[in-house]
């Protein structure tokens, strides 16, 4: 029986969809069978990032409303031979067409056939969030180092803790810019993790290539050398139970020790 994980954030645009696509791909590369569920009804883009947008025939609303069977609506990503699937969101519908029980039924139907069901949650804490959480066993909260994103993450963690998930929510800090963090211009990884007091699943650097590869429909995680990609691969390995040390914050610019210490002093 697979595990359903909702990927959520509260604040919009912090990288939920990017995380869903890359984490899903990384798990598929690790030989796990993964189904991605796009619940951002009306604003779908998981399909675009994966380069599967041309192949959509049916979507989740078609399944719920009986126009298609679940297996008919699943799109297979041919790059990963039977490992990665997507159930797309509907484009011309509203979040309110789905009810939490309906989403839960779909997730429950998928779980026996997959190792992981990753649910891409829309921004906000209303209907779309409630739907996305309904079938989940676990949750990943994505935040950037911005205060507003961290505040929203805190709000969402509070809501998630009230749901009876099987495990406490886990944190991904995305779009880390090392120079800003090292200069103390934004909260650092430790501060954010301590503030939110949940388990840190991993960090992902801010990297222009994330955007350019997304535009081409190729998740960044396929590019082994890229630092953001390594972040996603590490996250997948931790999810699978491996112990992987956190990436070094100055690897981006290969700062010298002296520089590191002096920037550390500047903070205080």
């Amino acid at each position: 029986m697979g595990k359903a994980i909702v990927i959520t954030s509260g604040k919009g645009g912090v990288g939920k969809t990017t995380t869903s696509a890359n984490l899903g791909t990384a798990l598929a590369l690790a030989d796990k069978k993964v189904c991605l569920l796009d619940l951002d009804i009306g604003l779908r883009n998981l399909d675009v990032i994966l380069g599967l947008d041309n192949r959509i025939i049916y979507d989740i609303v078609d399944v719920v409303q009986g126009r298609a069977k679940l297996h008919q609506a699943l799109i297979k990503d041919k790059r990963f031979d039977e490992k990665l699937f997507l159930l797309p969101a509907a484009q011309n519908a509203d979040k309110s067409v789905l009810k939490p029980e309906e989403v839960k039924d779909i997730v429950d139907e998928l779980k026996p056939d997959f190792d992981y069901v990753l649910i891409d949650c829309p921004a906000g804490i209303e209907q779309g969030f409630i739907n996305a959480v309904a079938g989940a066993d676990a949750a990943i909260v994505v935040s950037t180092p911005e205060i507003s994103a961290v505040r929203d993450a805190d709000r969402v963690i509070g809501l998630l803790e009230k749901e009876s998930l099987d495990e406490p929510p886990m944190l991904i800090i995305n779009r880390i810019r090392t120079h800003m963090m090292n200069d103390g211009q934004v909260m650092d990884v430790d501060e954010i993790t301590r503030h939110l007091s949940i388990k840190l699943l991993g960090i992902v650097f801010d990297d222009d290539q994330v955007i350019s590869t997304s535009n081409k429909g190729e998740p960044i995680v396929l590019n082994e050398k890229n630092l953001a990609a390594q972040g996603y691969r590490n996250i997948a390995r931790r999810l699978l139970g491996e112990t992987v040390p956190l990436m070094n914050l100055d690897s981006e610019e290969k700062k010298g020790l002296i520089q590191r210490i002096s920037s550390w002093f500047k903070k205080n």
Binding site: R151, D154, R155, I157, G158, L159, H195, S197
Partner: protein
């Protein structure tokens, strides 16, 4: 014992309703009593009188209280001060205990969450920005206090807050609010917040509790 007994005290009158008597019989006797009192009253100078109604080991429900009040309201000079009894509902008793207990609380109160406590709270948890810790009584805190602390909710201006509120967003007591600026309050675990005589929030140190809230101080075992 008679159904209805009138007693005069130095600071007023008390009418005891026999807890073992039939309530209908009580009402009849009560009507008679007030009719007599009215006659007495007419002889002397007109001055209004207020009564405590004591029901002993009987609890009157709202309807029964109304019936008593109806009798008294026929006489403009008479009124009921309050109803008293020597017993209470278990539920009310539990609530009273709850309100007098210091509750230990170690929760994490996140942005958008409100933790409501009846009575006093000894808080050792994490109060995040945007979260509210709200007690009907006093708040004693050793926790991380980055959100909003509200003591004496909704209207007990005697309540106080003790703890480190250096990083706290707001403190509220009863209906009074202070928005705390950065570094407005020193980084000390012994800050005390209270409502002063001008009904404004004031800040002092732990050693002053004895002066500003002597009753609380003795309740806590101080002398």
């Amino acid at each position: 014992m008679q159904n209805v007994v009138l007693k005069g005290y130095k600071d007023g009158y008390e009418i005891t309703l026999n807890a073992d008597a039939d309530f209908k019989a009580i009402l009849i006797d009560l009507s008679k009593l007030f009719a007599e009192l009215q006659l007495e009253k007419e002889k002397s100078e007109a001055k209004s009188l207020s009564f405590d109604i004591s029901t002993g080991t009987r609890l009157l429900d709202a309807e029964q209280k109304q019936e008593v009040e109806k009798i008294v309201s026929q006489y403009p000079l008479f009124s009921i001060h309050r109803f008293t009894s020597s017993v209470m509902q278990i539920q009310d008793a539990l609530e009273m205990i709850e309100n007098r207990t210091v509750h230990l609380n170690a929760n994490t109160i996140r942005n958008g969450q409100v933790e409501n406590i009846k009575g006093d709270v000894l808080f050792v948890g994490d109060l995040h920005q945007g979260g509210i810790l709200r007690a009907s009584g006093n708040v004693f805190t050793f926790g991380k206090n980055e959100g909003i602390i509200h003591a004496g909710f909704p209207n007990d201006a005697e309540a106080i807050i003790i703890g480190n509120i250096h990083a706290t967003q707001q403190v509220r007591i009863a209906d009074v609010v202070d928005i705390l600026e950065e570094n407005q309050i020193e980084d000390s675990a012994e800050t005390v917040v209270f409502v002063n005589d001008l009904h404004v929030l004031a800040y002092t140190e732990r050693a002053k509790v004895k002066m500003i809230r002597p009753k609380l101080f003795t309740r806590m075992g101080g002398y």
